[in-house]
Amino acid sequence: MREFITLLGYELKETFDSVPWTVYFWFFFGFQYFVYGQLVSRLVVNLSDYYVYYGTGLLIIMTFNVASWSGRRFVEGAHEGRLRYILSLPIRRGELFLEQLLLGLIANIVRIGPPLIIVLWLNGMPPIVLLTSLMVLLSMSVGVMGIMISLSFIAFKSFDIYSAIVATTSAILLRFSTILYPLSFMPNAYSSVARFNPLTYGADLLRNVMSIDVNQLLNPGSSAFIVAAVGVSMLTLGMAIVPRTLEGVKSS
């Protein structure tokens, strides 16, 4: 446990040592929410309050980005030799995986927490929603981190291919989902694809706990189940794949 806490503290220090990176996330949110969000909301007339809808979508995009960053950081660590050093320390492999997960979650809370508070406050939502919303976002980020880390076996062969696959996967997952537009507005071809996308369920679940456009959302029970199932299965997959692939890693 001592090693686990020491490593987590050390990695947190490095993660947040780069203040501009964290500030950039908040700036990105501010610009998207207060400038782009305001403007695009005027164009959307079919939804009663698209600005609120857009705000929650933006939070999910940011959660996705931070979680992707966590997975990518893990892969980069392997290539840079940092992970190899950590593997040589007296820390259990399972603890290391959990430490990486916790690091990602803390990074998520720090970077997404303030924007989430702003969205909730501006929309007059009660404090309890902060807790439930955060739980949904963190559950989603566990799934995304699991996907990104599980894909790391590709990166250990070729980082370029990994980057291309992650970029393509991210683009598809974000566009074919209800992050920016409800399922009911999508043409059938789009909506049938979006129903296979876990982000659709995450986005709808978040809007459910925030009580936004409830009539247009998927069932919260099944959404919660799918978000949890994706998180657990991706974590399990990552724990199964990563220790096997790590031994073949050669730092560049």
Binding site: T6, Y10, K13, S18, R82, S88, P90, R92
Partner: protein
């Protein structure tokens, strides 16, 4: 338990390539074993397997009584590795890097800060202690990589090319520190392709080639093992005669004799210290006088060439 480390049929494959091929060697407690071999001979793979960074494809190894496959956590508590390439947490400073390393191994408070300060001074990193890792020179980063093992002094310390990128003064300093580590009770394994490093550090040398251990012996034994490895240049007066040539050729331990000039010959012999008195006795009755004797023993390069068919310098290319 005589051995600090014992490998048993240790094998690591990457697809069809066998980086380590059924290796079985022992490292005695408290010795410095140097692994000498060209790039691709399996030295680094062996160190990574011993420190459990990699898992073997077949076979296993015991480190201080623990199995690297079944008891990897306990192994990591006993062993410390200094990697070939100094890579790390780019934004951290040398002080924090060493303090973290010490904390993972249970050092706390003043004891930790004292040992970190001392190690920074010992490795001439004190003036750079507040620079970020990414701002260090190659030599400084390498010294920091080596210094990690001196904050917790593991029972088994393994170094992968510990003086690569380090200047001459720095090399000598690191070698002396590694010997000091051994004197304080650690068992040390050093992988290198630098002959001078091997000669300076080794209690025993393991010559590796193609993932296998070709030979493991002390330096003296390795040099003595080369047939005709000692070259004795003998000067005679007034000139070499056929009788003198025959007498010297017949001395036990002579492998061959070549005439260099009319009054000088080279004798290729085993163990010149045993051969010389016998040679002196055998030429006493002849009508020539010995005017000069010069002995040169085989270098470690010669030993390496003898066992691997490659010169170390060429092997490195």
């Amino acid at each position: 338990m005589d051995s600090a480390v014992e490998t048993m049929g240790l094998t690591k494959s990457y697809g069809p390539l066998k980086a380590l091929d059924s290796l079985s060697i022992k490292v005695r407690r408290g010795e410095i074993l140097v692994l000498l071999g060209p790039n691709g001979s399996g030295k680094t793979t062996l160190l990574h397997l011993l420190s459990t960074v990699l898992k073997p494809t077949a076979g296993t190894a015991i480190v201080m009584g623990y199995d690297i496959v079944k008891q990897s956590l306990q192994v990591r508590e006993k062993i410390g590795i200094s990697f070939q390439e100094a890579r790390g947490f780019w934004r951290h400073k040398p002080y924090h890097i060493l303090a973290f390393h010490a904390a993972v191994y249970g050092l706390k408070g003043k004891e930790r800060s004292d040992i970190v300060d001392q190690t920074l001074r010992d490795f001439e990193l004190w003036p750079s202690r507040n620079k970020k890792f990414m701002e260090l020179s190659g030599g400084q980063a390498k010294r920091l990589e080596v210094a990690k093992l001196f904050v917790h002094r593991p029972e088994v310390a393994v170094f992968d090319e510990p003086t690569a990128m380090v200047d001459l003064d720095g090399k000598r300093m690191i070698w002396d520190r590694i010997r000091g580590l051994r004197e304080q009770g650690s068992t040390v394994v050093v992988a290198t392709n630098e002959v001078r490093e091997a000669e300076y550090l080794a209690d025993r040398i393991s010559i590796m080639k193609g993932g296998k251990d070709v030979v493991t012996e002390g330096l003296r034994t390795l040099k003595d093992s080369i047939t005709g490895g000692d070259v004795v240049e003998v000067g005679v007066s007034p000139a070499i005669t056929s009788g003198a040539l025959k007498a010297i050729s017949d001395v036990p331990g002579t492998v061959r004799v070549t005439q260099v000039t009319e009054d000088t010959l080279n004798a290729f012999v085993n163990r010149s210290e045993d051969w010389l008195p016998l040679m002196m006795a055998s030429v006493q009755s002849l009508d020539v006088k010995i005017t000069s004797i010069r002995v040169s023993e085989p270098s470690l390069d010669d030993v390496f060439l003898h066992y691997t068919g490659k010169e170390v310098a060429n092997a490195r290319a």
